[in-house]
């Protein structure tokens, strides 16, 4: 089991390394002045306004006078040390901004993933178990349609349908002087949209997984024991489908994160989504790279957690024995 986890961990480190290197390549090798990429458009304009000396000083600080390899090493060193550059748009170091904003995104993403996983898994399992009834044949189609509507489109529809949904603010994180309740109040609509969308996908995964298990001999054995359908489904079948379900859900977190970013923009939620939006508008390149890095980090952390859960939940994997 440790070996499997270590292998995965190595893969995650490799992924971070690739993203770090990608950032370097984008900054130095893309057409245009590398200094613009390193400082962002605003920063470049501001510094060149101050005179040539300031720019020259920074060039030596970034190691621009050395070879590409030397620059690359310096870049990696800085990345690991958490020095991800300075955002002139916000007037603060990038790492500070991104971690602050990440918290707000996680505040939305984390409950959405948990709620979607539980709800989708629950409805999907029941629907897979009763896949014969007419209603259960209609339900997958309904969820498939729901899944096709991107989160931000769903939000826009919601907001258009009821231009002022009574009692719910249409944007922002909290009203001035608001308490924790105010945050919850503002969270409600975006969280609803994200959960709904996440549930649709997980429903389909779980439903198919349960349907595939129905023909397994152990289901017949369990039924022949005189157990209730509920007990067979939740005590026997679910225990078998859960590990694979969790790993699919984990891989989906990256996709969910992308959806969250767009929904944030619609509701002007002050998280990574709006940050990326502002960074794109102001061409704040260091901020863009930092945001990508931190999003990657959080998605990988989620995957690592899921891997751990996966490997302890199935006795065959826990003991490193893949034979059925």
């Amino acid at each position: 089991m440790m070996q499997v986890l270590l292998k995965k961990f190595f893969l995650y480190i490799l992924t971070l390394f690739v993203i770090g290197s990608l950032n370097f390549c984008l900054m130095r090798l893309m057409p245009g002045d590398a200094m613009v990429h390193l400082l962002g458009e605003e920063g470049y304009a501001y510094l060149s306004g101050k005179g040539v000396d300031a720019l020259e000083e920074l060039k030596t600080e970034f190691g621009m006078d050395g070879s590409l390899i030397k620059q690359y090493c310096l870049h990696l060193k800085k990345t690991i040390a958490g020095d991800w550059g300075y955002s002139y748009h916000f007037g603060r170091p990038v790492s500070g901004i991104v971690f602050e904003r990440l918290l707000w995104t996680l505040l939305l993403l984390f409950p959405a993933v948990i709620l979607g996983t539980v709800l989708g898994g629950w409805i999907g399992a029941l629907s897979g178990w009763r896949s014969r009834t007419r209603f259960e044949k209609f339900l997958p189609l309904a969820f498939l349609c729901l899944y096709a509507v991107p989160g931000y489109c769903l939000s826009l529809l919601l907001l258009t349908a009821a231009a002022h949904i009574r009692g719910f603010p249409v944007g922002g994180v909290l009203t001035a002087g608001g308490s924790y309740w105010s945050i919850l109040h503002h969270m409600a609509l975006p969280l609803f949209v994200l959960t709904l969308h996440g549930t649709a996908y997980k429903y389909m995964i779980m439903r198919n997984a349960v349907r595939q298990e129905l023909d397994a001999p152990y289901v017949l054995t369990a039924l022949a024991r005189g157990l209730t359908g509920r007990r067979v489904l939740f005590g026997h079948i679910l225990k078998n489908t859960l590990p694979a379900y969790i790993s699919v859900v984990a891989l989906n977190i990256g996709f969910m994160a992308g959806g969250t970013l767009l929904v944030e923009v619609v509701f002007s939620w002050q998280g990574m989504g709006t940050l990326l939006y502002q960074a794109v508008l102001s061409r704040d390149y260091p901020l863009l790279s930092g945001a990508l890095m931190v999003l990657c980090l959080s998605v990988l952390a989620a995957n690592l957690t899921a891997d751990f859960f996966y490997s302890v939940s199935d006795p065959r994997i826990r003991e490193g024995d893949h034979a059925a």
Partner: protein
């Protein structure tokens, strides 16, 4: 419908729809969406969808955008699927070290959150239709690569590939002529899903304002609407069309993908074996016999493709009194196992049952759901085959053996485990106190069979229903299981088996089934000494101890599955015209046989 046909039809429909849309859009995009009208007009007769804040006609804009959105989606999906297929194919075909390198790369790209990466890349590259397509393709290929890789790994061991290789086919030739064509269904399904994903991604980045301002797409329409404060002004006609277009097209390609990959296609629905479909119980007039178990005129058939549906079990009568041992023998597909499931009320849904089953004089079809569960749990102990996953792979042996007592006898955890321990040692499982916390994959086939037996016996049910208890076990393990079942003195045993040695050792009565029909019923001693029905004779003669003589007709292919005549008439050496009519079950020399002829 055949999968081949289904795929071809869907593909045709989609190709047609797509070409139509593209041509239509290209033709219609001549309509000038330039700002020449009053801004923010509500839809009316002249402007079916109204105008936006710079006075462009939204319908015209939407059609122009369709062309670009679809092109980006199709273009990047084509690139992504092509790259993914090549990578998957090369990695799967060449294996290590190319395999390791390419698949690690795939894993890495698969792990990076797609949308942020696309946003960052397109922020550096700048707007442009080609740029967008390239960036999306760059992040979309790994999903295809993974699937194709897994498929190629299977394909490369197939005989036709090895055959082609042995004839000197080169690697490139093999990949493009033999391997990739065999992935085409998979590729088609993946392509549809990739198009959906690509259109979704394009709409996403355009919505953020990273789209090409010269070439509007549905996403950038939404961006304009959002930035233009359409929400606050309540301009629903500006928001609705692009939202519907994006969702509609993504949904369409998603459904196509799922349909092609057969994820939602229900050709043979796996049904819950929950319902005992008690169809017309025609023979209610039959007085219940006071024996433990009596079956009257039991017919089971499946409403399926065959018209009219042929019965799998046909007009079966059986009485079993308490303490009796009955072995049902016959070839695969003779309906033996279904008989056991019918006794548990666990026939697969879709099975049509007529006739009646009386348990201690009570009709099974009159049982309530909870009574039926009690019947399964406490009255009839079902022993499935130990082969395969008859035990749940993720639950401990102890938990599974204890479950009956916990559910039906209300034992607590420790009490049930104690009972499980004693029944496990009763069936002679070595080290039961250690084994109780083991998982099924730790056990050998013989041990699993013992556990299953212990599980059924744990509540000391009066009736044991065993489904081929010696199948797949080696000689000594089978002999031990045989001894265990033979040693059950008070329990009534109804066992279904191929194993003639086991049937003989069980003693009691033998029931021979052929194509759902009982052809002979006799005491075991007399049956093995002198089987009477021609089919029974063939069966006995084919035993290894009898020299494995191949008597004509021991082939399942020659068995007639119809309701009119004797099922054995085609292979039978003594069959004549009379056998076209099904013989009744009649007494002859102490046996019950279903044959017109007085064989002896």
């Amino acid at each position: 419908m055949q999968p081949e046909k289904r795929i071809r039809q869907t593909t045709c429909v989609f190709a047609f729809l797509l070409t139509g849309t593209l041509l239509g859009c290209a033709f219609l995009s001549d309509m000038n969406p330039e700002p020449i009208y009053t801004p923010l007009m509500i839809p009316d007769y002249n402007h079916l969808l109204g105008t936006d804040n710079s006075g462009r006609d939204i319908l015209a804009l939407m059609i122009q955008s369709a062309w670009i959105s679809l092109s980006i989606g199709l273009g990047s999906a084509f690139l992504a699927v092509f790259t993914g297929a090549s990578v998957g194919c090369i990695a799967g075909y060449f294996r290590s070290p190319v395999d390791d390198l390419l698949m690690r790369l795939t894993d890495v790209v698969l792990l990076v959150p797609t949308l942020p990466l696309i946003i960052v890349l397109s922020a550096y590259l700048g707007p442009g239709v080609i740029h967008a397509a390239l960036v999306i393709a760059l992040t979309a290929w790994p999903a295809t690569a993974r699937v194709i890789y897994a498929h190629v790994l299977k394909l490369r061991e197939e005989p036709f590939v090895i055959n082609a290789k042995s004839m000197g086919a080169g690697s490139i030739y093999l990949m493009f002529r033999h391997i990739l064509p065999n992935c085409r269904e998979l590729l088609l399904a993946k392509a549809a899903l990739t198009i959906a994903g690509a259109m979704l991604a394009e709409a996403g980045i355009s919505f953020l304002g990273l789209g090409d301002p010269v070439h509007p797409t549905w996403g950038s329409m939404l961006h304009d609407a959002f930035v233009g404060a359409a929400l606050i002004n309540g301009c629903w006609w500006w928001i609705l069309p692009p939202v519907l277009c994006i969702s509609g097209s993504v949904g369409l390609f998603n459904v196509a993908g799922h349909f092609l990959s057969g994820a939602t296609a229900s050709t043979t629905p796996a049904d819950t074996p929950e319902t005992f479909s008690s169809a017309d119980c025609c023979n209610q007039a039959d007085t219940p016999v006071s024996s433990l178990l009596s079956i009257r005129n039991l017919c089971i058939c499946f409403s399926g493709s065959e018209v009219p549906a042929l019965p799998v079990v046909d007009k079966l009568d059986l009485d079993v009194s308490a303490g009796e041992k009955v072995a049902v023998i016959g070839a695969t597909g003779s309906g033996k196992s279904l008989l056991l499931l019918a006794l548990l009320g666990l026939l697969p849904a879709g099975a049509k049952v007529s006739g009646s089953i009386f348990i201690e004089g009570k009709n099974l079809s009159a049982y309530s759901a909870s009574a039926l569960r009690r019947h399964r749990g406490i009255f009839a102990g079902y022993v499935p085959q130990g082969l395969g996953n008859a035990l749940n792979p993720v639950l401990t042996v102890g938990f599974q053996v204890a479950e009956r007592n916990r559910v039906h006898r209300g034992f607590d955890r420790t009490g049930a485990l104690k009972a499980a321990l004693s029944s496990l040692s009763a069936v002679g499982l070595p080290n039961p106190d250690k084994r109780i916390s083991d998982y099924p994959h730790h056990l050998s086939g013989g041990m699993k069979q013992r556990v299953l037996l212990a599980e059924a016996l744990s509540v000391t049910p009066p009736l044991i229903l065993a489904d081929e208890p010696t199948k797949g076990l080696d000689h000594s393990a089978a002999a031990e299981i045989m001894e265990l079942i033979k040693g059950l003195n008070t329990e009534t045993v109804l066992a279904v088996t191929h194993d003639l040695i086991f049937a003989r050792a069980l003693g009691g009565r033998i029931l021979v089934m052929l194509a759902g029909v009982v052809v002979e019923e006799a005491p075991a001693d007399s049956f093995f000494r002198s089987p009477l029905h021609p089919y029974s004779r063939a069966l006995i003669a084919a035993q290894p101890s009898r020299g494995m003589k191949e008597i004509a007709g021991f082939h399942i292919s020659g068995i007639m599955r119809d309701v009119s005549g004797c099922p054995y008439r085609q292979e039978c050496l003594i069959a004549n015209r009379q056998c076209e009519i099904r013989p009744p079950l009649r007494f002859f020399q102490g046996h019950k046989i279903r044959c017109w002829h007085d064989v002896s």
